[in-house]
C-alpha cells in the first residue's frame, strides 16, 4: 500500500458542555469520535488540545486567575494552588477508554495520572521537563514552584495521550477493513485529586508547603475548547479501495491496565489476576491511602511506603526491605529476592530495586533521559565537578530535592519481548518493609503492560489479550 498524502486532522468532542468541562460543574466526561474512513491513523501524533484554568475557592464569581509568587505568604485563599508538576495537565484525566465505533473496547487506562507520575519522570530528564514537555504541557516542570508559576492564568495545552495503543508505532487502519473508526472517552479526575499546593525550599533544602487555606473550601479546575488533533495517512486509490472492502486482518498493540490494592502490614504478598497472555511488565507505585483525593497532599506523589504521621514535606518513610516477584507461587522471573534494606536504611539508592523498576518502564540498557537522581531521591547534589573546576551551581536550577520517584517493578521478558502468560496463573509481589502493621494503609497502584492482538473480519472485531 502506497501513501499518497498526509493529513492533519482535528475533531471536537461529541458532548460539548454549555460552559467548560469540569468535575465540579458536573461535566466530567469528554468523548471524541474519529470517523470510519479509508485512512491510517498515526497514533503517536494524537494530541489533546484545549485551555486549562484553576479557580481559587474564595474568588468566585469573579474567578480571578491565580497569582503565584515567591513572595506570597505561605497560605491564603489565592496562593498555593497547583497541580502535580510531573504529570501536569494530564493529571485531570482519571480514566481513558479507547474503543472502536462498534463499541469494542481496545484499551482502558484507569488512574492515568498515577501511571504518568512514574512513567514520565523515569523517561524524561530535567531539560525535557523544563523545555520540551513544558511547551505542550505548561504545568510540566522539574520544580513544583515553577509549575505553579506557569499556571497563574488560563493556559493553552497540547498534550500527548500516552496509552499503550497510542504510544505504538504501528499505524491504525480506520476503515471497514480495520477498526471501523475510533472512540475516545476521557473521564476527568476529582478536583481534590488534581489540585494541591507546591513546595519552596530554603538553602538547606528544607521544604515549606505552599497550600491555599483553608484547603477544604475547594479550589477547582476547568477545561475548555477541547479538541483532538492527529495525523492521517491517505493511501493511494488501490489502498483506499482495499480498506473500504470488508476483509480479514490483525494488528498488534500494547495496552496498559491498572489494578488497585492496599497494603497495611510489614510483610504482605499481593496476589493479582492479570488475565493477560502476553504480559511484558508490571510496575507498582505507592501513596498513603489518606493522601488520595486530599487537597492537602499531592495525589500523584510517588514516594516510598509511608507510616502514618507523615506530611507532604516530611514523609514518614517505611523503608522497603525486600521484594519478591511471584508467578503461580514460584519466584519469577527473578529466582531470588531483591534485598534493599541496608541501602534504604542508609538513605542511599536502593539500586537492585530501582533498576528493575526502571526496566519495567523502559529497557535499562536504553535508559538515557530521566529526572531520577540522588538529588530527587536522596537529596544529595551531584552537580559539582572534580578538582575546583567551578561550575555554576544554584539550587534553584535543580529539581525538587527528595521528591522521590519510587516504585517497584519487573520486566518479564526483556529478551524475546513476547511476554508471559498470566491468564490462568496469578501474579504476586511480596513486599517486606518497615511499615507499621495495621496502622498505615498505603495504596498500591499496579500497572500492567501487555501485548494484545486486534483481529478484524467481516464478522466484526475481536481483541485477544
Amino acid at each position: 500500500m502506497n501513501i499518497n498524502q498526509k493529513e492533519h486532522a482535528e475533531v471536537f468532542p461529541i458532548n460539548p458542555p454549555s460552559g467548560a468541562y469540569s468535575f465540579r460543574g458536573g461535566f466530567p466526561i469528554v468523548q471524541f469520535q474519529i470517523a470510519n474512513q479509508n485512512k491510517l491513523l498515526d497514533p503517536s501524533s494524537l494530541r489533546l488540545n484545549g485551555t486549562f484554568k484553576m479557580i481559587a475557592p474564595t474568588l468566585p464569581p469573579t474567578r480571578a486567575p491565580l497569582n503565584n509568587t515567591s513572595a506570597a505568604p505561605v497560605a491564603d485563599s489565592n496562593t498555593g494552588i497547583n497541580i502535580n508538576n510531573r504529570v501536569g495537565i494530564a493529571s485531570t484525566i482519571h480514566q481513558m477508554t479507547i474503543s472502536t465505533l462498534s463499541n469494542q473496547t481496545l484499551e482502558t487506562v484507569r488512574s492515568y495520572g498515577r501511571y504518568l507520575a512514574s512513567v514520565v519522570p523515569v523517561t524524561h530528564s530535567q531539560s525535557d521537563f523544563d523545555m520540551t514537555n513544558q511547551v505542550q504541557n505548561p504545568a510540566s516542570a522539574s520544580r513544583s514552584f515553577n509549575g505553579a508559576h506557569a499556571l497563574n492564568n488560563e493556559v493553552s495545552f497540547c498534550i500527548p495521550l500516552r496509552s499503550g495503543l497510542l504510544s505504538g508505532q504501528n499505524f491504525i487502519p480506520l476503515g471497514t477493513s480495520g477498526v471501523n473508526g475510533l472512540q475516545l472517552q476521557l473521564e476527568l479526575a476529582a478536583d481534590s485529586a488534581v489540585i494541591s499546593g507546591y513546595e519552596t525550599y530554603d538553602k538547606a533544602d528544607a521544604a515549606t508547603q505552599m497550600l491555599f487555606n483553608p484547603p477544604n473550601n475547594g479550589a477547582f479546575y476547568e477545561l475548555a475548547d477541547l479538541t483532538l488533533s492527529y495525523n492521517l495517512y491517505v493511501p493511494d486509490e488501490e489502498g483506499q479501495n482495499q480498506m473500504a472492502m470488508p476483509s480479514t486482518g490483525s494488528l498488534s498493540y500494547n495496552s496498559i491496565s491498572q489494578l488497585y490494592s492496599v497494603i497495611n502490614s510489614s510483610d504482605q504478598t499481593k496476589v493479582l489476576n492479570l488475565g493477560t497472555s502476553n504480559t511484558l511488565s508490571v510496575f507498582h507505585n505507592f501513596i498513603p491511602t489518606n493522601q488520595i483525593n486530599n487537597y492537602a497532599f499531592d495525589s500523584f506523589s510517588t514516594g516510598q511506603l509511608q507510616n502514618s504521621g507523615g506530611t507532604q514535606i516530611a514523609p514518614a518513610n517505611a523503608t522497603l526491605n525486600r521484594v519478591t516477584f511471584i508467578r503461580g507461587g514460584l519466584k519469577f522471573p527473578l529466582e531470588y529476592d531483591v534485598e534493599v534494606q541496608d541501602a534504604g536504611e542508609a538513605d542511599r539508592p536502593q539500586t537492585m530495586n530501582t533498576i528493575n523498576f526502571i526496566n519495567s518502564i523502559k529497557p535499562y540498557k536504553f535508559y538515557n533521559h530521566s529526572l531520577m537522581s540522588t538529588y530527587t531521591n536522596q537529596g544529595i547534589i551531584g552537580t559539582i565537578g572534580f578538582n575546583y573546576a567551578k561550575t555554576p551551581r544554584n539550587k534553584n536550577t535543580l529539581p525538587d530535592p527528595k521528591a522521590e520517584i519510587f516504585g517497584v517493578g519487573i520486566s518479564f521478558d526483556p529478551l524475546s519481548k513476547v511476554g508471559v502468560d498470566f491468564r490462568r496463573t496469578s501474579y504476586g509481589v511480596r513486599l517486606v518493609s518497615q511499615l507499621q502493621d495495621s496502622n498505615s494503609p498505603n495504596s498500591i497502584f499496579t500497572y500492567v503492560r501487555a501485548r494484545n492482538t486486534l483481529t478484524y473480519s467481516p464478522a466484526g472485531i475481536a481483541v485477544t489479550s
Partner: protein
C-alpha cells in the same frame, strides 16, 4: 547513581559518606564525624560477551569463568577535595600565628586550636550553602597536620585533629578552626619552653597533611587518647562484599540445541562473533610539540579507537584523578592509518585550554561517533574537560574496518606550556570470532 558514581566531591554531600559535617553550626568530632556508607551497586561489565546483544551459549563452552582483578586503592579512590591540603605545596593558609611554646599539654587530651583562613580559594576553607562548593574542608578527624613556611622550611608537626568548628559558630563566614592533639608528653612541672611548639609560625604559613600517613595510617602513640589513636591509625581502603553476578538465561528449543551440538562437532564448527577491546599503552616521552605514537593494533574488524591521555604522575596518587584524561595544553590531534590521515584535517583542541575550559565541537562529534560505534549511547557531553579523551570511529552503520597490514598511529600536538608526562591508553574496539569445533574452542 546505580553504579556508585558520584559527581560531587563536597564533604557531606557524597553518596559515599553520611553526615553533613556542617562545622559552622556545631563542633565536629569523632562522635559526629562522617561515616562511610555502604552502597548497593549494580553495574554492567562493559565487555562484548557480557554486555553484548547476543545470547552466549554457555553449554557450548562448558560454562564461563569470570576473573576480576581489583585495582590499587590509590588509583581507585580519590580524596573528595583532590590535592587540597595534601602535602606542603597544596597546604591551606594559617590565619592565627603560632608562637614558640604554644600547645603545651597539661593532660593527654589537651588540644591546640589551629585557625585557617576563610575563603573559597583553594588554599582557604569555607562552609557556605550558597557557594559553588558547599563545604571545602579537606581534613578529617584523625588526620595528622603539619605546618611550614610557604617555601617548605620551618616544618613542624602540629598534631592529630580531634575536632573542628567555626571561629564564630552560627555566624556565616567564620574561620575554620581545628583542635589538634599534639603527639608530645605531658608538660613537665614546672613547664619548660620545650613543652610546646618548638618553632614560631607566622600568619600565612602552610598547613597540610602527608599523603603517606593517610594512606597507611599512623602508628599508635602513648601521648594520644585511645579513640584518637584509633582514628589516626585507619588506613584508606575499600571493601566489596556480597558480590553476585546477575545474568538472564534463555532455554532454546531442543531442536535448536541439537543443531548447535551437531555444528560444534563438525569440522566447520560453531562460530560466534563478539565485540571486545584490545588495550595498547604508550608512554609519551615528549611533552611538547608534535608527538607521534604508534598503536600496534592488528584488528581485522575494528570499530573505533578511544585514546585516553593519562598523567604518569597521577597513576598511583590518591590526591589526583588517576583515571581521567588530562588536557595539558593539547592543540590538535589526528590519526594516521597507513598513508591515510583520519580525519582529513587535524581536530582542534585549543579551546580546552581556556580558563575556564571550553569545548571544541569537532572533537565532540568525533568522540560521539567513536563511542556510538563501540555501542555506547551518548548520555552526557557535559564537563568534557574533566573526563577528556579523544576518539575516532573507523567505520559507520555497524560496519567494520581492517587495521591489519598498515600502521596505525596518533599525532597529538602540544604547546610549549605542556608540563605533564603522559601515558596514552588506546582502546581498540573490534570484533573477535570464537569457533567451537570438535570440542575445542578458539578465539581470534
Amino acid at each position: 547513581m546505580f553504579e556508585g558514581l558520584n559527581a560531587n566531591p563536597s564533604t557531606g554531600q557524597s553518596i559515599y559518606w553520611s553526615g553533613d559535617e556542617n562545622w559552622d553550626a556545631q563542633v565536629i568530632s569523632e562522635s559526629n564525624d562522617s561515616t562511610a556508607s555502604t552502597l548497593q551497586i549494580q553495574m554492567p561489565l562493559q565487555d562484548g560477551i557480557l554486555n553484548g546483544d547476543k545470547v552466549f551459549p554457555v553449554g557450548a563452552t562448558e560454562g564461563l569463568r569470570l576473573h576480576l582483578t581489583l585495582d590499587a586503592v590509590s588509583r581507585s579512590c580519590n580524596y573528595q577535595w583532590g590535592d587540597k591540603g595534601v602535602e606542603q605545596p597544596n597546604g591551606v593558609l594559617l590565619e592565627t600565628a603560632l608562637a614558640v611554646g604554644d600547645g603545651k599539654k597539661v593532660a593527654i587530651d589537651s588540644t591546640l586550636n589551629i585557625v585557617i583562613q576563610q575563603g573559597s580559594e583553594k588554599n582557604k576553607i569555607e562552609v557556605n550553602a550558597d557557594s559553588t562548593s558547599l563545604n571545602t574542608n579537606p581534613f578529617s578527624v584523625g588526620d595528622c597536620v603539619y605546618v611550614s613556611d610557604a617555601d617548605g622550611n620551618n616544618e613542624e608537626r602540629l598534631g592529630i585533629i580531634s575536632s573542628y568548628f567555626s571561629s564564630t559558630p552560627g555566624v556565616a563566614d567564620g574561620n575554620f578552626t581545628m583542635a589538634v592533639c599534639r603527639d608530645a608528653a605531658i608538660q613537665a612541672n614546672p613547664p619548660v619552653p620545650a613543652d610546646g611548639l618548638a618553632l614560631a609560625h607566622a600568619q600565612g604559613s602552610f598547613v597540610f597533611v602527608k599523603n603517606s600517613e593517610r594512606v597507611n595510617g599512623r602508628p599508635s602513640s602513648v601521648n594520644i587518647p585511645p579513640t584518637l589513636n584509633l582514628a589516626a591509625a585507619v588506613p584508606i581502603s575499600f571493601s566489596i562484599e556480597n558480590l553476585e553476578y546477575l545474568v538472564g538465561s534463555v532455554s532454546p528449543p531442543a531442536a535448536y540445541t541439537a543443531a548447535m551440538n551437531t555444528q560444534m562437532m563438525s569440522g566447520k564448527g560453531l562460530a560466534m562473533d563478539f565485540k571486545t577491546y584490545s588495550t595498547y599503552r604508550v608512554n609519551l616521552t615528549a611533552k611538547i610539540g608534535l608527538t607521534n605514537q604508534l598503536i600496534p593494533a592488528t584488528a581485522q574488524r575494528a570499530y573505533s579507537c578511544l585514546s585516553v591521555p593519562l598523567s604518569n604522575a597521577a597513576q598511583i596518587d590518591m590526591a589526583a584523578d588517576s583515571l581521567g584524561g588530562v588536557i595539558d595544553h593539547c592543540q590538535n590531534y589526528q590519526y594516521v592509518h597507513g598513508n591515510k590521515l583520519i580525519p582529513d584535517r587535524p581536530v582542534p583542541l585549543e579551546r580546552y585550554n581556556n580558563t575556564p575550559p571550553h569545548i571544541d565541537a569537532l572533537h565532540l562529534i568525533e568522540l560521539e561517533k567513536a563511542l556510538l560505534n563501540c555501542g555506547f549511547p551518548t548520555r552526557n557531553l557535559q564537563r568534557m574537560p574533566q573526563h577528556f579523551l579523544i576518539g575516532r570511529a573507523f567505520s559507520k552503520y555497524g560496519q567494520v574496518a581492517e587495521l591489519f597490514g598498515e600502521d596505525l598511529s596518533l599525532r597529538v600536538e602540544y604547546s610549549g606550556e605542556a608540563t605533564v608526562e603522559k601515558i596514552f591508553n588506546h582502546y581498540i574496539c573490534h570484533l573477535r570470532r570464537m569457533t567451537i569445533s570438535n570440542g575445542r574452542t578458539t578465539a581470534f
